[in-house]
Symmetry: C2
């Protein structure tokens, strides 16, 4: 197996560091130290911590495993199972960290255009996947055909991001359970 | 009019500073400088920046004006109007800053128990007001009586917090419009 590049080690380390501590609380120094690479090597690969932040958001979104299959479930049950996987991750982490995309949006939107744009793009992409699941559910007759799947896809993801923030502060799965009950019990 | 106390000046300044820059990006030094008070006076009034942060969350929540009346509107239209006031504030700020409660939750939940608990308490209190509006709407026959008003109150607020984060990164009212369309068009 080839040795991972310094660049790759920095990105993967920064995913963990930004998720654990937040963006402002990490410095190029703390990231390169955690990555075990020389601080001087950072600027060979990234223009700034902001640039690294944007790449970290993209990487985190790519690695979410959102489109993994869930056996023979119907479209709506598949969508529910995908959120269920994320719920399990949050429970296993004792509701720490939350969603790195939402965290970076809340913390950096006003201060870093490159991060802001990447968060917006990652949320759009993810919402698009949810909307596609809703359209499949509509074709299967599980969701009324006259509902706006794109709008619902965006709304459902925003509701999930808000529920995660509350789960973090309440240290409880109850906000996630509210999400499942309302989204899959009433809304869809 | 009595001169505001040093303590009061620090709290009001910190509401603005934390909202504008985020918690980690502010220091006791930058806050006391912005407040025009001696840095040394800070610790006469607060044990730590964390303690100030918790008080700032409580103050921001108290000042939200959420329970202001909206004339002769029915319960559901009153609820919509209250969210409409917040939408206007976000538009006027060009979608910067967002909700200080959500920001502090996303940034500080894992790092500051005192802030985490205050964010949880402020969200609970606010959700309770929304649930009360939904119960009034149920009594007025505007929302089906068999819906769980407390759960809907929590869910609707979480969906709003998520929509605000997306509005911040998209620099657009569209996520807020998604919220109004789904919550007041389909959900309630």
């Amino acid at each position: 197996m080839p040795r991972p590049s310094v660049r790759e080690v920095i990105v993967e380390t920064a995913v963990t560091e930004f998720h654990r501590h937040g963006f402002a609380a990490c410095s190029v120094d703390t990231i390169t130290r955690a990555a075990g690479v020389p601080k001087g090597s950072f600027y060979n690969h990234f223009k700034s911590k902001e640039d690294l932040g944007a790449e970290v958001v993209a990487r985190y979104a790519e690695n979410s495993g959102w489109r993994d299959g869930h056996g023979d479930l119907g479209p709506l049950d598949t969508l529910r199972a995908r959120f269920g996987v994320m719920r399990d991750v949050l429970v296993a982490a004792d509701f720490t960290r939350g969603c790195l995309i939402g965290n970076m949006g809340a913390e950096r939107a006003d201060h870093s255009p490159v991060i802001r744009e990447q968060v917006a793009a990652s949320l759009s992409s993810w919402s698009g996947h949810i909307a596609e699941s809703i359209r499949e559910a509509q074709r299967a007759g599980e969701v009324p055909a006259d509902r706006d799947a794109d709008r619902l896809g965006r709304f459902v993801l925003d509701a999930w991001e808000g529920a995660i923030i509350r789960a973090k502060v309440a240290k409880s799965a109850a906000p996630l359970d509210d999400f499942f009950a309302v989204v899959f019990g009433s809304l869809l």
